[in-house]
């Protein structure tokens, strides 16, 4: 089912590009690459590694593995409107309906035979133990070998070395179980691609922070979280360049992502993955634009292509979700100030202890820099729990509040 979906998505996008004389927006090219990744995962012709979110995808790509974090499947099922039925399968298996729907949908998909059998699984202890539990379940379900990366929390020489050594072990593990020999030259080229893409991402986010932002609410939706899967590839560099060029063009021509941009918003954690009217409503009715997502940031340094393990390890450790909440909150404050946002929306995905556990601290932290937060309680994957009227009232009231406070400040 999903394999067919990705195949027809890819061919549909390709014919649309052909129809437009080979021209395509960066967002269309992004959708094309996601479709291609999905097709590779499902076509049976590639060796697959199911992973945790913080896995080193450039390293795995360099080893010729089609690798992907499992939550991707949950997001895809949600975007196609299929998540509800699949989630029920996980519930029948004993998952609590209060648990994270990304993970319930992945588990349901595996039980329904909708997940390709991997060669290996690579779990990560960050960002959440729920995700690691799913990977462990999948390893047992598929009867395939599991490697768990224990990601330490501190950016110290010892912690970086500890993780870098695990990454070296991962290479041996993956090579041993897949039969793919490790190729240092191929890894060097992959890291050069990672660094090239990184430079372009920095430029993209710098452009997106301009006032008005050249980015619409949709342009960078799920951007960095998905492109992490393509790190190390030429396609990732080309895609990043397409976004950078488009945003530079828009800035040069004074073309804003949202015409007449009035309100700038920060979106915390992940977007809602199923079709919903929120972004359109924000833009059409309030001229409000989501100019920055929490996950759209480059917080890591360029990596040494000739000796990449320490650099990759540091990148994993520095994920803002890793470590104490103060680190994540400082990161959010930095984004709020850099992007000059007027408010932040935290969807507080149901069942996500990571997301909801610290929401009070996040709210207090952002208020310190004058940014109010709207805490929604939404299941980002299961559309059966979405009640549009309730969300509309909360968002409208939040927009009224921001608008009225800005007016008061201007008047005083």
């Amino acid at each position: 089912m999903l394999g067919q979906y990705f195949e027809s998505l890819e061919s549909g996008i390709l014919s649309s590009i052909e129809k437009d004389g080979g021209k395509a927006s960066p967002r269309k090219l992004y959708a094309l690459e996601i479709a291609r990744l999905g097709r590779r995962l499902y076509d049976g012709g590639h060796k697959v590694a199911w992973c945790g979110v913080a896995a080193p995808f450039d390293l795995l790509n360099a080893m010729g593995l089609t690798s992907c974090f499992v939550e991707f499947v949950g997001a895809m099922l949600a975007s196609t409107g299929m998540a509800g039925n699949i989630i029920e399968q996980a519930d029948h298996w004993g998952y609590s309906s209060d648990a994270c729907s990304y993970h319930r949908s992945v588990t349901g998909a595996a039980l329904a035979g909708l997940m390709p059998v991997p060669e290996i699984l690579v779990g990560t202890t960050c960002p959440c133990t729920g995700g690691l539990g799913v990977i462990e379940n999948l390893a047992r379900h598929f009867g395939k070998p599991l490697f768990v990366l224990n990601i330490p929390q501190n950016d110290t020489v010892e912690d970086v070395r500890y993780l870098a050594d695990q990454l070296r072990d991962l290479v041996g593990f993956a090579s041993g179980h897949t039969g793919i020999p490790f190729d240092q030259e191929r890894l060097t080229r992959a890291i050069e691609n990672t660094n090239a893409a990184r430079e372009l991402f920095v430029e993209i986010f710098d452009l997106a922070s301009r006032v008005p932002s050249p980015a619409s609410s949709k342009d960078l939706n799920n951007f960095m979280i998905s492109l992490a899967l393509l790190l190390g590839t030429r396609e990732c560099v080309d895609l990043a360049r397409a976004f950078k060029d488009e945003f530079a063009r828009r800035v040069e021509t004074g073309s804003a992502g949202v015409k007449g941009e009035e309100i700038r918003l920060l979106w915390i954690q992940n977007r809602i993955q199923f079709k919903n009217p929120i972004e359109k409503m924000l833009e059409d009715e309030f001229r409000a634009c989501i100019v920055i997502d929490e996950l759209n940031d480059i917080y890591w340094d360029p990596i040494d292509p000739d000796d990449p393990f320490e650099g990759i390890a540091r990148r994993c450790i520095l994920i803002p979700f890793n470590g104490p909440s103060s680190r994540r909150i400082e990161h959010l404050k930095k984004l709020a100030l850099t992007y000059r946002v007027h408010g932040a929306i935290n969807p507080c995905n149901w069942g996500c202890r990571q997301g909801t556990g610290m929401r009070g601290l996040i709210e207090a932290g952002l208020r310190e820099v004058g940014v109010p937060v709207l805490n929604l309680e939404v299941d980002c994957v299961d559309d059966r729990k979405f009640t549009e009227g309730q969300f509309r009232t909360r968002i409208e009231a939040f927009m009224e509040m921001i608008g009225s406070n800005r007016s008061s400040r201007r008047d005083s």
Binding site: E285, F286, R287, A397, E400, M401, G403, N405, S408, R410
Partner: protein, 281 residues
Amino acid sequence: MYYLGIDIGSLSCDAVLLDGHGRVVADAIVPTGAKNAEAIALATELVLNRAGATREKVKAVVSTGYGRDRVEGRLASVTEITCHARGMRHLNEKARILIDIGGQDSKCILMSETGAVVNFAMNDKCAAGTGRFLEAMARVLQVDIDEMGELDRGARGDVTISSICTVFAESEVVSLIARGENICEIALGLNRSIASRTVSLVKRVAPDIDGMGIAMSGGVARNRGVVRALEEALGRPIFVPEAPDLVGALGAALFALERGARRVSRDDGRHADGRREGECA
């Protein structure tokens, strides 16, 4: 000229009519029922009749409540959060925290010293602790909803009732009745259950309530038992206006007066320059 505010909620449709000086000349509360349009028409007709006015004399209408976008001929629609804050500010300038419990929503609104909304929190996931919750409990207790407010008089307070879910709470109440528990104890348990849920909303928007005036609006504020339980839980008196269920409609009417006087054009909740209520000029 007159200015009309309509608050179309899940249980009732409330209307307030102001004159050009901002004085309330008429109000009405009718059940929403299954057809919003009929409730809106009836509430409008009632306030016009009571004021001896005609529709032509109404210069501006602002709507609020969950059915706010269904009010035809409105100048703007404004959320109930903003309207309740505006209405309460008009009634009590000292109120900084507003608790509004309606038919299916409970919310807490933090206002600045000038009355602007600076934060708010609403019930999520379920409507336990709202007007619907009380209706269900009144049905189980076989009392009229209006009697619920004084039912807890004389209770010792040794019954605790779940605030997680209306259905679970209902079955708990059935069990308590079956085992012969005194009705007044059950009523106090229910009021405290609502208070406990509501206090968490208050603490979310205002961790420290010292020195802040607290007010309550919405139909549930008519229930003195719930108000007493909230006062006990917060350790503070709560201001309740004479007609707490009309505060949203009053706020909407005040917006109609402000905006109507400025002769803003009506176009689906937008001002002449395309802005919506609350947006910056």
